[in-house]
């Protein structure tokens, strides 16, 4: 009887000590905010285009952290979906066509002769990549443009074009070798995906 009592007391003491340590640690090393949101945000393309129906990439990252579908980002395309699926350990699903198609990267261009200087596109640009003032011609800082499309709609005279980014010597890449080898049936899809990119 006495030995049982001693055991219970000893275990109780240990439980108290560890409980105190855990309690202290949970206060001392408390994580501010949700770190997964930052990780998701880092994977999103940051075009801030709102095609996912959220007002920017970070809000969508927060929504994903709260269980929103990961396939609502057309600018990121399948590679972003794959990366998100990898991070969140969920099934990679195809892009939700409702939010748009994956398109080649573009950059906005203002036909300056037609610009009437209304500043509407400047207000629409999420990354401040359009330069200009009221009644003055506007222009796009191409290196800052994310190709989000948001400036096209507000333009009253339709003078903004979305131009595809042309390959240059600086961003050219060797094409993937076309391969005729397929070890197992499932590799066939991979090989094609590789050559398509």
């Amino acid at each position: 009887m006495e030995s049982i009592l001693i055991a219970i007391i000893a275990l109780g003491c240990i439980a108290l000590v560890f409980g105190a340590i855990l309690g202290f640690a949970s206060v001392k090393f408390k994580v501010e905010g949700n770190p997964i949101v930052d990780q998701i945000d880092a994977l999103l393309p940051q075009t801030q285009c709102g095609q996912c129906s959220y007002p920017g990439c970070r809000p969508y990252a927060e929504a994903i952290a709260n269980g929103e579908a990961i396939n609502k980002c057309p600018p990121g395309g399948q590679s972003t979906i794959d990366a998100l699926a990898d991070l969140l350990d969920v099934e990679a699903i195809p892009l939700d066509a409702e939010h748009g198609q994956e398109q080649p990267k573009t950059v906005a261009f203002i036909r300056e002769a037609e610009c009437i200087g209304c500043t509407k596109c400047i207000q629409a640009c999420p990354v401040d990549a359009i330069l200009g003032a009221a009644k003055q011609m506007h222009t796009v800082i191409a290196s800052e443009c994310t190709g989000c499309d948001l400036c096209v709609e507000p333009c009253p005279v339709d003078c903004i074009d979305m131009l595809p980014i042309e390959p240059t010597l600086a961003n050219w890449n060797w094409p993937s070798p076309s391969s005729s080898e397929h070890i197992i049936a499932t590799d066939r899809g991979r090989g094609n995906a590789g050559s398509a990119a």
Binding site: L44, Q46, C118, V127, K135, S176, P177, E181
Partner: protein, 767 residues
């Protein structure tokens, strides 16, 4: 002899070097055109210093560097700049890049050259600046601006200078020929580099398949004033790779992601050092180089001294290349070079070899088979990577994993592809994967930048909002304070200053006095009726009250006389007249009632009716008089009101229109409830009347005096865009009557807007 270490892997492909060593070094005749790409080096493209039509002298700078990692470019001969144009350049993509095109005049007139006899007397940075101005970039193939490498002793401790005379790739003999013919120039260059870097050891590596070059260099090194050790290394590909040569000669491995300078070693190519010698001693910029032209299609293979910018077609013609046998034109070696799409590209600073390959020399690659996991690629990889693993990852686009297996340490030597029994194009996979990784990293950087800008913008908008709010609050507070101050003022000054207030106070006082008197009288009456004893006191009270009433009424009269003659307020008068009239009608009704019932009060009512009628008449009169007096002021007000009214009418009409539209849309969308239908029927007449009113108001409105040209212009632009959009919609929708009608209407509108704009422009121009 110093010790020779060894590096992992490597292969022994057929050398094929003898073909191009049968003939001595020859100079190519002056070509008819020279095409000089602005970027022949790693880093930023140079920016041109000449324009079309300029006459240039041999050795004159024609482009200057645009950044730290960039290089000068010089005219290879005297002549005229005939074009600044995008021309196809030697690049695996076959794309074009900006080039300066020079037409030689054949005079070969040099600019004034300034060499130095004793470079040791110069400051080191001055010496490096001379090398920079000579436009020298690594001639082994990479094209890294040389003076940057010679500057490295500023922030690195350099203990070993290694001269790369290995030239391990098959076919190429340009460095071999240079070492045989110009050993002294190379030694001179080494001395300058050693002066700049102050290493403790100078080592020179030469493969044992170039005995003549090794002998020439050893002899020249003996004559040198510094200690240069010529090391003959066994022939193995790729011992000419920078990292492999460092390992071979020093036994030290350059860590992943670092450069040799981080471990105190600088490697320079022999061609580069010869160019440095010429730049320092004679002031000659880099305008020519030795290039090997070989291959089975060439009948006179050999090494040629060519001007930078010479079209490859000229070189092929000089080497007697048979166009019928030529199937594959390769720039660089067979292992690391790339096929050229056409011979119209120029030779650049890094072009060390051109191979005019025949069909049996470069047969088409056999189809790739499955990987049999033999591990041969791992055996030959000089970077000690796992090519098989990298192959899977590159193929499956698992670039993260490829990075973890150090894909970026791959030097793309092609040894793995060479030995692969399944003919898998391994190195092509790695090149593609490396490019994709770089692209992804660039996108990542851009995304990060976009995120920062987006956050900065949101912060700014937020700040602006709070500032606006703060300003609004401050204004409201100031207004409240001003109001309070006014009130205080009014309270203190009221009794004396405000006669109106005094009048009111007097009126109230008189009324109170009258009521009190009435009460007192009533009390007296009751007391009298009940026969109370205390009559005397009550009577006194009544008389006192009577006096008070008299006094207060006198005060009231006085106040009325002091109060300024009040301007008759039409509104008040109207109200008074209306009340009077109502009272009259009410009394009339009561009277009729009383008469019908023959009540005794009828007589009383009749008399009060008479007084009320007279009162109503008086009120009406007063009102009429006031209105008469007020009229003169009205018209001005009316016009001001009219514009406001017009606006009001417009917005009313617009609101009604929108409502109507919404209702209609809802109906169209399928919500066909009776309520909505009723709403529509209700709204339609309302809208019609509102539009009528608006039209009437506009008709009354005086015509616009100054037509706003700008507004008209943008109206025209907007109208045009609308027409365009409608047209587009029509095109897309095909035959649609509604759209067509809308388009016609819009076109009319646009035409009208145009006409208005024209008229306005004429009007403004005519005066």
């Amino acid at each position: 002899m110093s010790k020779i270490w060894s590096f992992h892997g490597g292969i022994h492909p057929p050398e094929n070097k003898q073909q191009s060593l049968q003939r001595p070094l020859e100079a190519l005749p002056l070509p008819s055109r020279l095409v000089l790409p602005l970027q022949q080096h790693i880093g930023a493209p140079a920016s041109p210093l000449v324009k079309v039509g300029d006459r240039v002298l041999k050795g004159q700078p024609i482009a200057e560097p645009t950044g730290f990692v960039s290089a000068y470019l010089h005219a290879p001969t005297s002549g005229t700049v005939v074009d600044l144009v995008d021309h196809s350049v030697p690049h695996p993509s076959g794309m074009t890049a900006p080039c300066v095109v020079i037409e030689p005049d054949g005079e070969e007139r040099w600019i004034e050259l300034q060499g130095v006899d004793d470079y040791r007397s110069l400051e080191k940075h001055e010496l490096a600046e001379r090398i920079r101005h000579a436009g020298i970039a690594g001639m082994g193939g990479a094209g890294f601006p040389t003076e940057i490498k010679l500057h490295l002793s500023d922030d690195h401790i350099i203990n070993t200078l290694i001269i790369n005379g290995v030239e391990c790739e098959p076919y190429i003999t340009a460095d071999d020929m240079l070492m045989r013919e110009r050993a002294d120039e190379i030694i001179g260059g080494i001395e300058i580099a050693a002066h700049l870097l102050t290493p403790t050891h100078v080592l020179m590596g030469i493969e044992d398949n170039k005995p003549e070059a090794a002998r020439a260099m050893t002899e020249a090194a003996r004559r040198s004033r510094i200690d240069i050790e010529v090391v003959v290394v066994p022939t193995k590909y790729p011992s000419g790779g920078e990292r492999q040569l460092v390992k071979l000669l020093t036994g030290v491995e350059v860590p992943s992601g670092k450069i040799p300078a981080d471990i105190g070693i600088v490697v320079q190519n022999v061609g580069t050092l010869a160019a440095v010698y010429n730049a320092v001693h004679f002031g000659k910029p880099l305008i020519s180089r030795i290039t090997t032209i070989t291959g089975e299609a060439a009948s006179r293979p050999g090494n040629r001294e060519v001007l930078i910018g010479t079209p490859i077609s000229d070189l092929l013609a000089h080497a007697g290349v048979d166009p019928n046998r030529l199937t594959r034109l390769v720039m660089g070696g067979p292992m690391m070079g790339y096929a050229l799409g056409n011979a119209n590209v120029p030779l650049i600073k890094t072009s060390n070899c051109i191979i005019a390959g025949a069909a049996d020399e470069f047969p088409p690659a056999p189809p790739a088979q499955n990987c049999i996991r033999c591990g041969a690629c791992e055996q030959v990889c000089p970077a000690e990577l796992l090519p098989q693993q990298l192959h899977w990852f590159a193929k499956g686009r698992e670039y993260d994993k490829a990075l973890n297996f150090n894909l970026l340490d791959c030097i793309e030597c092609g040894a793995c592809s060479y030995v692969c029994p399944s003919n898998i194009p391994l190195v092509q996979y790695y090149r593609h994967a490396k490019g994709e990784i770089r692209r992804e990293q660039a996108e990542q950087r851009k995304a990060e930048q976009a995120r920062i800008r987006f956050e900065a913008r949101n912060e700014r908008l937020e700040r602006e909002k709070t500032e606006k709010e703060a300003r609004r609050k401050a204004r409201a507070e100031a207004a409240a304070k001003a109001q309070a101050a006014k009130k205080d003022d009014a309270v203190t000054s009221a009794p004396k200053a405000d006669p109106e207030a005094a009048l009111k106070a007097a009126k109230t006082a008189a009324a109170v006095a009258r009521t009190k008197l009435k009460k007192a009288e009533k009390a007296l009456q009751i007391a009298r009726d009940s026969g109370e004893s205390d009559l005397a006191a009550l009577e006194a009270e009544v008389s006192a009250q009577q006096q008070k009433v008299a006094a207060s009424e006198a005060a009231l009269k006085a106040a009325e006389s002091t109060a300024p003659a009040k301007t008759p307020d039409i509104k008040e008068l109207k109200l008074a007249a209306a009340t009077a009239r109502t009272k009259v009608t009410k009394t009339e009704k009561a009277l009729a009632d009383a008469e019908a019932k023959a009540l005794p009060s009828a007589e009383k009512l009749r008399s009060s009716l008479a007084t009320l009628r007279s009162k109503a008449d008086a009120a009406q009169h007063a009102l009429a008089a006031a209105e008469q007096s007020a009229r003169p002021a009205a018209p001005a007000e009316a016009t001001a009101a009219a514009t406001a009214d017009l606006k009001q009418l417009k917005s009313n009409a617009a609101i009604l229109r929108t409502k109507l539209k919404k209702a209609r849309k809802a109906i169209e969308a399928g919500d066909s409830s009776a309520e909505l239908a009723q709403q529509v029927t209700e709204l339609e007449p309302q809208l019609a009347s509102a539009e009528q009113a608006l039209a009437a108001a506009q008709a009354q409105q005086p015509p616009h005096t100054g037509p706003d040209l700008k507004a008209l212009k943008s109206a025209v632009a907007i109208a045009r865009t609308k027409v365009k959009k409608a047209q587009k919609a029509l095109d897309e929708a095909g035959d649609n009557d509604d759209l067509r009608a809308e388009l016609a209407q819009l076109q009319q509108q646009a035409a009208a807007a145009d006409a208005a704009l024209e008229a306005a422009q004429q009007a403004t121009e005519s005066p």
